[in-house]
Subunit: 201 residues, 3 copies
């Protein structure tokens, strides 16, 4: 256990930060643990009781709410939101008996795309990709890739529509109230025009 | 970080209590954090790894089992039970990208009614009201209001019946084994006679 | 709070171990708490933010990933794997109001069988038995006993098949790729021949 002091990083006195790779403006709250070798960007918020394992990668402007554990193999892109107690994994078929343990090289990566949201208490099985600006509803259990802008809910998670960066539903042939315009073709969302400067709800 | 010492409140040496508003007889266990401005009543039990945010309000005789985070905007009435790792929220459409963040004034409140139970690992999306003596089953994902005495399960949570304060199913025109009598009219439970003094199971 | 020092047990300096009954080779990570009277076997891994209550029993070679709370009444057999934030309970009908609290003698036990897996963020209601080598999928909500070797998923958890110790699906009349051979009769799995020495995936 070797505590690190990093310039411009606010670490709660009851947190444990052992990584030397955390960007400026990032805050780490009480009872959280960032292991050596974990990488976290700038202006992030790492909530209480979080655990960021060696090998996990977190971009800039990411919110990691309380109680989230990010394992080696999990990559979270810029601007993503991980709700409280969202749960990730890196072993698809875990056993603990030494004879049947998954060798580490067969662990599967998980990627949360830019700007995406993973709702409170959602479960993301490993090997999945959560697309850019996707929205995983609270309590959803993600067992398949989530396309960009898709909103998924339930157990197992199923797509119920597409949402704008501002989280409003995307409608075909109509601009979003925030100004953005999308085209949906073949089940895929294409951004025709991003939201304007006044996208805040 | 400013630790508070409160008369009649038992705080584990590894907990962090910064609030000055906690009632007598309340216990706070290890690795839990009660922020300044959080309000907690008397004779409560705040389990390990809990987080009670500034602005959260907890009544008397409330049990908050391990790993529960209560946010600003969450109100828990007297006698409610929050099971281990039950998850609450206060932002219905969270994004982390600074351009699309929900402004704080649009956060939604959640209310857990008197005597209600929120089961283990249940998820309660914000803006919901859990009625008095309602019972949210373990692992349920609450996306709609739960009426008083209703028992809900599943993802999304659906009502499967009504339960007495003593948790036995309510039957129409028959007194509960605990002595209580209810009337169900228009999908609502009306208490004709509360349980007697010997309601313990 | 009385810290115990145990031979051959590696305890993180930020963990709290009060039990004197932990086997050699077991590791306990940061912000975890093992209460006095909890029993843990040898070569276990007790993840960060775990809570092992007095009365809980954990066998040898068990992996308890982060954020798992094991209560009095929960027994975990040798070689079982408990995924991150898997949630257990011991009170089937919890209320917090002193008039309606479940007396402790009516708490229900839970047993996780030898070699079984409980997936990430799964919920196991009390009174259940998870059979040997069973596999509870991530996010599943277990409300019924899980037979040996069964794989269950969903909310509520339903059986979707049977798996080998090595987690591959069991097929009737065909040996598993790992060498094991099973017979399924009357919905029950019988081991004809266990996996060979080269069962690792």
């Amino acid at each position: 256990m070797k505590r690190r002091r990093l310039r411009g990083v606010r670490v709660h006195p009851l947190a444990l930060v052992e990584s030397g790779t955390i960007g400026r403006g990032t805050r780490v709250w009480a009872f959280a643990h960032v292991m050596p070798g974990a990488r976290i960007g700038s202006r992030c918020n790492i909530g209480e009781h979080c655990f960021i394992e060696s090998g996990a990668v977190v971009g800039d402007d990411v919110t990691v709410k309380n109680g989230v554990a990010l394992w080696d193999g999990v990559t979270v892109a810029d601007g993503a939101f991980l709700g409280p107690y969202a749960v990730f994994t890196n072993d698809a078929r875990p056993r603990s008996d030494p004879r049947y343990k998954t060798p580490r090289e067969k662990f599967l990566p998980t990627r949360v795309g830019r700007g995406a949201t993973v709702g409170a208490n959602a479960t993301v099985v490993c090997g999945m990709r959560i697309g850019e600006w996707a929205f995983v509803g609270a309590g959803a259990v993600v067992t398949r890739d989530v396309p960009p802008h898709a909103i998924v809910v339930g157990n197992p998670a199923r797509r119920i529509g597409f949402v704008c960066r501002c989280t409003r539903p995307i409608r075909t042939r109509r601009a979003c109230a925030c100004g953005a315009l999308y085209r949906i073709q073949g089940g895929k969302v294409e951004t025709v025009r991003p939201p304007g400067d006044r996208a805040r709800r």
